[in-house]
Symmetry: C2
Subunit: 219 residues, 2 copies
């Protein structure tokens, strides 16, 4: 097989594996079985190996000495760190949106949370989860910072599947999202950044409190 074919195959295998991690088909902590993958995707071990190395570099996978690759699982400490990380990156993203986003992009952001009425039924809840994801992703895209955007696409830190069950209820985050949209419309970067930082730190604090409940007797 030529090198060019290998490069294209590696890219395909890489995208496929990333999607499998993101969709939870490969679960955190799971060992990667190269032979199974090779059969499933119908490719040789070479592009599989290349893709696995790349995914390890991007922290989606963890390479353990003598044992092979595992889907990265986050410890409770790392999940706490994840909220702080998102606060840092998305706080800067929303500030930069105030500087750089076009009026049309700001309108698009404003429309993310239109039409919700509380209490939400199951369908409304799913729509809210989708709107939430869209809003945060668009903020990063419209920030005009190519490195923030690249990091959000390639970094294992931002994997959304790891966030399931960790988020606060819509009743709590909805007014925060509206307040951020208002700051965006006023192009008030300082205020928007502060709000986003607090938005994620509050989630961190709720998650931390849950952890403490799980371990009674812990100070």
């Amino acid at each position: 097989m030529s090198k060019i074919e290998n490069k294209i195959l590696t890219d395909l295998v890489y995208e496929k594996l990333k999607a499998m991690i993101d969709d939870g088909v490969l679960t955190p902590g799971e060992k990667i079985n190269k032979l199974d993958l090779s059969r499933l995707l119908g490719v040789s071990q070479t592009p599989i190996n290349d893709a696995l190395s790349r995914l390890a570099g991007e922290k989606f996978l963890e390479q353990r000495s003598r044992q092979g690759y595992y889907v990265r699982a986050f410890t409770d400490e790392e999940l706490v760190a994840l909220f702080e990380m998102r606060g840092a990156l998305e706080g800067m993203a929303i500030r930069l949106c105030c500087e750089n986003a076009t009026d049309e992009q700001l309108k698009e952001l404003s429309r993310c949370f239109e039409g919700f009425s509380f209490p939400l039924d199951e369908k409304g809840y799913q729509e809210y989860v989708h709107a939430d994801k869209t809003f945060h992703e668009k903020l990063i895209r419209y920030s005009g910072n190519p490195i923030l955007w690249e990091l959000s696409r390639t970094s294992g830190y931002m994997i959304k599947s790891n966030m399931k069950g960790l988020t606060r209820p819509p009743e709590e985050t909805y007014p925060e999202h509206l307040a951020m949209i208002k700051a965006l419309q006023n192009r008030n970067g300082d205020e928007a950044q502060q709000m986003m930082i607090q938005h994620h730190l509050r989630s961190r604090n709720v998650f931390r409190a849950k952890l403490k409940q799980k371990e009674p007797g812990t100070p």
Copy 2:
């Protein structure tokens, strides 16, 4: 050669290549010559290939279709983005230091800039550059956030060699560092974070202004 030996060799080659990029032995934009590396490091192509894939995943290298690996070069737009990125990450780091660092760690941070008197001679300037690097690295380490720390060690975004010639003069950054140290001592996370964000955004603005001077006629 056994798989175990290969894993250890890959780690060694990986660390060696990262140091070569960081020290500027391999320069931004340079093509990686696998055969040369293989001879230089006295290892086969297998650990070289594994290390190159990992470094591409971490954005130290760029893999171009049909052409191989190149040391990542930052465009002007990406350098601007880099300052914003550092403002985001280190802004959160200094806030978390206010929450989490021990009194002893805060004292250590405070001592980073002791003993400087201006104007600096060449030796003093070198010491200041070192103190600057130490201060920012320790902030990330003492933040208590393992993901920030991991990212600062493995991410191509933080490569310091790319920052040479881009930093502001010590006369300008010294009082900012002292103000941040004061906020740290008061454990005022909000203030410290704001200062750090502005610290890096000011550097960004100076860099942007230099870019405009380079291209007369640009609006």
